[in-house]
Symmetry: C2
Subunit: 161 residues, 2 copies
């Protein structure tokens, strides 16, 4: 049986600060093929440039993790944000940047696993000349997996080169 | 800064039923390159055949998810097992099988996202003629992310063809 997840949670990166929790209650294994995974463009108030956000799975109570795959075109990046229970990024393609507030920019490459601790203000995205794709996982705390802040300005981004 | 995670949690698939929790306490982003991710062979009491288990990240309190990447050579599979808070598999390469107790075998392919609900007895692995690689995520409940059961016998496995 190949069932469709209801997909909203992972898209919170692009769409909403408070993530819905799927009430599965099912005791059946479900399989969602790529063709059934919801894809949206990164919302312009939360991303700069061209960003593709693919939902992978929702949090299903009593579990509380959600995941998505995000591709940033050159120059594209998230806004500054925090995660109440942190975030894991698994870089699946390309080269990108990640930076926490007040820290240096760090290069991330295919195969890297990035841990962003809870409450750490940060952004992630592509470099000016390369694309970058990562899978992102985060856990809900009281219904919230991400808190969005201001965008990364062109000046902030250019200073990293 | 590219720091090394202490890696034991994701390896629980192969090594232990009770997962350690990393006490990070850090407020620094850490990056673990592929070359620093611990790799072990699947333990023979929990896997059949040739299985490569690569740790991706531990659970870091107050977060409780861990993740690993697992590659099954043709004919290789996990033992029967359950997860107290369920498990997500993201198939990253090849073609494999997943089955829950009493149900039909289901084919899983690159790009598929598989949800295994909490407490559902199941196994996953390669087909007899193909390799399969997936990323696996699971959450801890009272220190446990997986409960191992008996192995999938050759007879059980052959019946699925």
């Amino acid at each position: 049986m190949r069932k469709l997840f209801s997909t909203c949670a992972a898209l919170s990166l692009a769409a909403m600060p408070v993530i819905g929790i799927a009430q599965s209650g099912s005791t059946q294994i479900s399989i969602t093929p790529t063709s059934s995974q919801k894809v949206i463009a990164g919302a312009p108030d939360r991303f700069t440039g061209t960003v593709r956000v693919q939902s992978l799975f929702d949090a299903k109570e009593p579990a509380r993790s959600s995941g998505g795959q995000v591709t940033f075109q050159p120059g594209a990046r998230s806004a500054w944000h925090t995660h109440p229970l942190g975030q894991i990024l698994i870089v699946t393609d390309g080269v990108g940047w990640v930076q926490q507030w007040g820290g240096p920019v760090q290069v991330i490459r295919k195969g890297d696993v990035v841990w962003i601790p809870s409450g750490v203000k940060h952004w992630h995205g592509a470099t000016p000349s390369t694309t970058m794709t990562h899978i992102a996982f985060q856990e809900l705390l009281e219904g919230t997996a991400v808190n969005w802040l201001e965008k990364v300005t062109g000046e902030q981004y250019r200073l990293m080169k």
